[in-house]
């Protein structure tokens, strides 16, 4: 049956219709390939429109929306931001962003644990893409699967709050390996939560040598100017090109 002999290999050509013995094939297919391809396309489309895209990930309750609320007013006037809010249910996060007079679209995944490139593609037409040069995508609160789904972003921010514990980087390594920026939020609760900074930094640096870590508190405002400055520098070429 097999053109190489009897190894059962059938990587080329269809088997004859009378074949009965099971044959093995190697489609070499990435299971999330469809999402990755669409993510690549989104990235290229957004770059052509001079939009710098940031995917914000972190647990439910880490303070991703609070970070956006604190960050958006701190970005210079040259930044015209838009936001995609991902959540299982409700438009509460989008409502909070809309109060800042920032264009925002809410994506409800109805139980889905992460955003996909297809959901982002579908929500883009609801944003004034010609007017914005910075797109923040707030992912569904989850330290697991959002790490596996490209959304066409230029930069990934991972937000961890001290109340979650210092052991999270070691427990959710993929998220922290892939991070371009790590934000440690709620540092006003450092003492109350017993968060071990030394252990946290050791685990983070074991996984990721390049991502800067910003210690912030969205409640007190500490550390946020420095984070806003870093994002401004990253996005500067795109913002300048947008005019």
């Amino acid at each position: 049956m097999c053109k190489h002999g009897n190894c059962g290999c059938k990587t080329k050509g269809a088997p004859p219709p009378e074949a009965v013995a099971p044959a093995k094939y190697h489609p070499a297919a990435e299971i999330l390939g469809r999402n990755s391809l669409l993510g690549e396309k989104l990235k290229s489309d957004l770059e052509k429109m001079n939009v710098f895209t940031i995917n914000i990930m972190g647990s439910a309750g880490a303070g991703k929306t609070s970070l956006l609320e604190a960050l958006l007013p701190r970005l210079g006037r040259e930044h015209r931001a838009g936001v995609i809010e991902g959540d299982l249910f409700t438009s509460r996060d989008a409502d909070r962003i809309a109060r800042l007079d920032i264009p925002v679209v809410q994506v409800n995944t109805s139980g889905g644990c992460h955003l996909t490139a297809a959901q982002v593609a579908k929500s883009l037409p609801s944003l004034p893409l010609k007017e914005i040069n910075l797109l923040f995508i707030e992912n569904v609160g989850n330290l697991v699967c959002p790490a596996e789904f490209s959304l066409g972003e230029n930069t990934k921010i991972v937000v961890l709050s001290v109340a979650e514990g210092d052991d999270k980087p070691a427990k959710y390594p993929l998220m922290f390996i892939q991070a371009d920026i790590i934000v440690l939020n709620k540092t006003d609760l450092l003492e109350a939560s017993g968060f071990n900074l030394q252990s946290f930094y050791q685990d983070v640096r074991n996984l990721n040598g390049h991502a800067p870590v910003f210690e912030v508190s969205c409640r007190t405002g500490s550390g946020l100017d420095s984070l806003a400055g870093h994002i401004s520098r990253l996005a500067a070429p795109v913002v300048a090109a947008h005019g």
Binding site: Q202, R205, G209
Partner: protein, 115 residues
Amino acid sequence: MSMHELGIAQEILNISLESMEKYGLKELRRICVAVGELQHLEADCLQVAFEASASNTPARGALLEIVRIPVKAACLSCGQEFSGSPLSYGCPGGCTAGLNLLQGNELYIDEIEGV
């Protein structure tokens, strides 16, 4: 059933159906999925999700086989290669300069078997 495994199962089904057509298969017996240890996937959950997704398709009845691929990384400072459980990725040399992931993040269909 977890939504996460359901999404993955549906992608596996899509690829399986395309492969069946490409290779002219009438019946799918087995799908071997390579899963890196860093992927958070539960095998039983994935099988249940796949069965539910495939029930009315030509791919129904296929058994999912998961092959786990261990994590392997190289230290970005001293270059030493090391492997480890998902809880201990530190460079054995004590460097804390981050790592270059060599394997352990895979998620692909390695082999399908059918007639």
